[in-house]
């Protein structure tokens, strides 16, 4: 058998903590997900690793779209997983679909 990955808990946001998280982090990466979504579950370990590697450079968090419909309507989310990217409190990009850690590291490095 192969070894399993390490578990690191990524901050779980709600409608009431979302805006503060965005303004508290110069760069914020928010993974919009739902428990029944297979690709979202595959994003989980990637976000955990990203959270660890980007510590102090960017804030990494998750948002359950099923429980926070107002946020998904606000950002017009129609597919998951979707990553919302913020810089200095401003929504600068929306990335749709599963991505590798390497792709995301490269992308965030360019922000």
């Amino acid at each position: 058998m192969l070894a399993c990955s390490v578990n690191i808990v990524v901050t779980e946001l709600t409608g009431s903590t979302f805006d503060k998280f965005v303004t508290d982090n110069r760069i914020a990466v928010i993974d919009c997900w739902a428990p029944w979504c297979g690709p979202c579950r595959r994003m989980t370990p990637i976000m955990e690793e990203l959270s660890k590697e980007l510590e102090k450079k960017a804030g990494v968090a998750k948002l359950n779209v099923d429980e926070n419909e107002a946020i998904s309507i606000r950002f017009r989310i129609m597919a998951i997983p979707t990553l919302l990217i913020f810089k200095d409190g401003v929504h600068i990009d929306t990335l749709v679909g599963l991505r590798s850690k390497e792709d995301l590291m490269e992308y965030i490095g360019s922000v």
Partner: protein
């Protein structure tokens, strides 16, 4: 139905796994359609011992015949669901039939997801989706089209009738099992027998243009080609695929889950016949060895 080993996928990796598993006297069932193999649309000229060009279907049909001659059973259907059950696994096929087994070999190749038509890339996340299971909730009361002729599209169409106001099922040809098609039609899915050509809209999807010139007004388009994706089958069995949909294996073709093996294109590049066959042999031997207690 019970079996020692179920092999999901009927390409070169799956067939070779079947040959080695059945020659080890394991009761082996291969599930899958040879037409779904990437080899079906290819020809071979770089495989050991086969000179000149050989068409993929010729090789696949001979391989299937060979596997059957060693005692393999073959179910010519897609897998719609897989799950761990007790000390083994339950594999469900299009007709609803279930197979209970001790070991599973995933040999499904890499699933084709994209349709490659204009508008598909531009509207991803703005009306275009590749996962009805994930995104159904965003389309409550809206009009959607599901594209694809296989079991995945049939199931997605049926699922979407629980959310959308109208569900069009768009495909020139239907290859899904009749029972799945009937189930989808009974729920009110509207079949459209034509090939999709262009996805149109402004900031969101608005229209699906068909080859015959017809236009369908829709708010969402679900592209659901072929059968259940290889990544989803892996996840059903508790194996977490990589971001590129490949599955990690060790030198015994074992995955991270005991009793689940993988071989062929799903384990990563090079996507070559020789590599698929080699891994198929290893996976088949070890899957059969595991159930027979042979080290």
């Amino acid at each position: 139905m019970n079996a020692d080993v179920v092999i999901i996928g009927c390409g070169p990796a799956g067939l070779q796994a079947g040959i080695h598993s059945s020659r080890k006297k394991a009761d082996t069932v291969i599930v899958g359609k040879i037409k779904n193999s990437a080899l079906y649309d290819a020809h071979i000229e770089n495989y050991f011992g086969i000179a000149g060009k050989t068409d993929g279907p010729v090789l696949l049909e001979k391989g299937l015949e060979q596997a059957l001659s060693f005692g393999c059973r073959h179910i010519d259907m897609d897998v719609t669901r897989a799950a761990a059950e007790g000390s083994g696994f339950r594999i469900t096929v299009e007709s609803g039939e279930e197979i209970f087994c001790r070991s599973v070999v995933i040999a499904t190749g890499i699933s084709r997801m994209k349709l490659n038509i204009p508008g598909e890339k531009e509207f991803l996340g703005k009306g275009v989706s590749y996962c009805a299971e994930c995104d159904c909730n965003f389309y409550k009361g809206l009009r959607v089209a599901v594209i694809g002729g296989g079991s995945k599209a049939a199931l997605a169409s049926e699922l979407m009738t629980g959310y959308a106001s109208v569900v069009y099922w768009v495909s020139k040809k239907i290859s899904a099992d009749k029972s799945l098609v009937n189930r989808a039609l009974k729920t009110g899915v509207r079949p459209v027998t034509e090939t999709p050509k262009v996805i149109l809209g402004e900031d969101r999807v608005r229209l699906l243009l068909l080859e015959d010139g017809r236009e369908i007004e829709v708010d969402g388009i679900f592209i659901e080609l072929g059968g259940r994706s290889s990544a989803d089958i892996a996840m059903d069995l508790g194996v977490m695929p990589e971001a590129d949909d490949s599955v990690r294996i060790n030198n015994k073709c074992e995955t991270s889950v005991t009793g689940v093996f993988a071989c062929g294109d799903i384990t990563g590049e090079p996507w070559q016949l020789a590599k698929a066959v080699g891994e198929g042999a290893v996976a088949g031997l070890n899957a059969a060895g595991g159930v027979k207690g042979i080290k």
